[in-house]
């Protein structure tokens, strides 16, 4: 099980989502993708997208205006 971390700090909408999309494609089932983002939309749009694609996803705040989004590739 690989763990990949992508830093999307200081990026504008919708860059975090697009980076997550691209990275997840390259990963295997069971791998974990961690996205670091300070963009308030990304906790919603990335999480929603990942759920719709059937992956396990969760997020938490790790700082003021900073979040980590965890996606485990499930399919």
């Amino acid at each position: 099980m690989r763990q990949v971390r992508i830093d999307c700090m200081y990026e504008a909408c919708p860059i975090p989502l697009l980076k997550a999309l691209k990275e997840l494609e390259k990963m295997q089932v069971g791998d974990l993708l961690i996205i670091e983002s300070d963009h308030s939309c990304s906790t919603i749009n990335i999480v929603e997208w990942a759920k719709k694609q059937g992956h396990h996803v969760d997020y938490q705040e790790v700082g003021e205006g900073e979040w980590e989004i965890y996606i485990e590739k499930a399919r």
Partner: protein, 172 residues
């Protein structure tokens, strides 16, 4: 206190926003006679700055139209738009501070600066020919039962599609 945390910290669902924004817009329209619009305020700020810099724009054909003449004659000081637009900025700031989610986000690189500036200029220019932005030209226009709001909306959809292609190809 858990429900308090939910309201203050967690994001609200989109439909809540949709309803609240609409209600505010209706109140605004009723009491001021003018529905919500944003970019005209930017134009006034710009024209006002030019006036201060000594460049007279009151002679421009654009400002001869009735809705602009009044503000132009006052040196482009528009309390209506300035209060609204500044209020929006500070309201958003208030919301993030109360959730302890404020973070100053600097520019990442030069490319971001250029893209932001060009994107802003394109948007600004388009609002003058389309008679508004996503709020004044689309939201308030459709609410006002004017066809131009619908056409603008569909055109923005097409533009967003093109913009996404550009984004994906060049900006990732």
């Amino acid at each position: 206190m858990d429900w308090y945390k939910k309201i203050v910290k967690e994001p609200w669902p989109y439909w809540v926003g949709g309803i609240l924004i609409a209600m505010v817009n209706v109140v605004l329209f009723y009491f001021t006679g003018k529905p919500w619009a944003i970019t005209t305020g930017f134009l006034y700020w710009g024209a006002g700055l030019l006036q201060i810099a000594g460049i007279d724009v009151t002679g421009w054909e654009y400002f001869q139209r009735s809705e602009y003449l009044e503000v132009a004659e006052k040196g482009f000081v528009s309390t209506h738009y300035t209060l609204l637009n500044t209020g929006i900025i500070l309201g958003a700031l208030l919301a993030v501070l109360m959730a302890s989610q404020f973070k100053f986000k600097k520019l990442k690189n030069r490319k971001q600066f250029v893209v932001a500036l060009i994107g802003g200029i394109i948007m600004g220019y388009s609002t003058r020919i389309a008679f508004g932005c996503n709020i004044g030209g689309f939201l308030s226009a459709i609410g006002s039962l004017s066809l131009h709001g619908w056409i603008l909306g569909f055109s923005m959809l097409i533009g967003a599609w093109i913009g996404s292609k550009i984004l994906f190809k060049y900006l990732i």
